[in-house]
Symmetry: C2
Subunit: 266 residues, 2 copies
């Protein structure tokens, strides 16, 4: 039987518990269920690839999520507190605290809903299924799928040299990997449309193999079986860079086609 | 002589101080310089007017800012920890902690830059002047102007009954007030364009007279003389409602003309 906790009820219960609590909150309690992000997807699309915070700092804000690295040196995926870097060769390795990131989104993953999945399910159907599980499109959802996959198509991005090209240009020559009959974990987010400009609207998932040795940014997949876990969050914290390149970047336009090219391989 | 502290240098100094600090941060230290907002401007445009948090809770996140009230019952302006409600008659009165808000933006105002202003300056020129003072368009800026005004044109909004109409419809019949030769305070924010969908991009200011008895949402003004104070923030916290009306509202579109009609009286 799939276990299921109504996500919003759990969130509201946690909030009222906090309100009723007579003792002061422990440090960091405010960060529970808060999605933390540094910089914006628009900045990444514009080629702002200099890391604005270290992974040591990022770990204070979450044990789960995705992102990239200083100079766009690969894809990051974090699961169960383990942070991994998938470089342009598709190989995953642990991230050191001193490494920096120009864009990452994390939270402390405490799922409010779990559901067994029976495939075959392609990426589009998996997204439709998750859309049917969550309570409306307007919250932030962290999404994790552990399972067995008939195939997963991922990409990574190669380290860039200055002057940095826009992400859509990098994506034109990105290395793509076709993994077959593989166990592993999808980790990422479903962002609301109104947060377009801050993060990828809709689904954005990265993949890590069961042996934690390969992965990347997910372009396509076929799931055979597994479990999806969802953490619904109504809290979002954005921490912007303050370097001159970010401060004066052209971030005002609404990304459409270029986001599809950069993030969805279309 | 106008006093001036380079805003970004101050922000970076504060951040490095926090990083170097050997002792744990006091509760709430993370909230310093953080812009806190509940719900989104898109939700307000769509008629989501049920208050999602109380002013008692809001005060924990700031002593300065703007917003509205449950059922869209007027304009809120907060200055120096005093929260005021300007109802549809244009009269300001103190806000009680138990009142609720569907949309508000606040922070603890600690200006990083001050500058004397000599008029006459209309609203457009005041905005251009502030744009020239801040370090790039991509941070969150809280803006306060204390001064003497040849005129200030404000509006407020009347309390609505369910089913709530969209904000642009309410704005068609909003009461408008023309104040002349008046002292007072402008309080509000300059938001980056990429945050469109969350808050009003560009300037959004409310006004409160020196005697704290009248005010509203600013449509136009002529400043004679005064001082502008600016608090640059790289941190933004969004707290979303979790009621079914918000969860299923259509918030995905990019507000353009309707935002101008609702917020700029155009």
């Amino acid at each position: 039987m799939p276990s299921e906790i109504p996500s919003i009820r759990a969130l509201d219960a946690w909030r009222s518990h906090r309100r009723r609590s007579a003792t002061p909150d422990p440090p960091g309690a405010d960060a529970l269920h808060e999605v933390f992000q540094n910089s914006t997807i628009n900045a990444l699309l514009e080629g702002v690839y200099d890391g604005s915070i270290t992974y040591g700092e990022l770990r204070r804000h979450g044990d789960f999520g995705l992102g990239t690295f200083n100079a766009l040196d690969g894809e990051m995926i974090a699961v169960d507190g383990g942070f991994y870097q998938v470089k342009a060769d598709g190989i995953a390795s642990p991230v050191a605290d001193g490494q920096r990131t120009p864009f990452a989104t994390v939270l402390f993953f405490r799922p409010t809903l779990r559901r067994s999945l029976t495939g075959p399910l392609d990426y589009e159907h998996l997204q439709t299924l998750v859309d049917g599980l969550v309570e409306g499109p307007n919250l932030f959802y962290a999404v994790r799928v552990d399972g067995r996959f008939a195939s997963v198509t991922t990409r990574s991005v190669p380290r860039q040299e200055k002057p940095y090209p826009p992400l859509a240009d990098v994506a034109k020559t990105q290395p793509v990997f076709h993994l077959e009959d593989v166990g592993g974990t999808l980790a990422g987010f479903r962002f609301p449309d109104f947060a377009r400009g801050l993060n990828v609207p809709g689904f954005h998932l990265h993949f890590l193999t069961e042996d934690r040795r390969a992965g990347g940014h997910v372009l396509d997949l076929v799931l055979e079986c597994g479990e999806v876990a969802i953490d619904a969050s109504a809290s979002f914290h954005l921490e912007l860079p303050t370097d001159p390149i970010f401060l004066h970047a052209d971030l005002g336009h609404v990304p459409g086609d270029e986001l599809d090219r950069a993030e969805r391989g279309k």
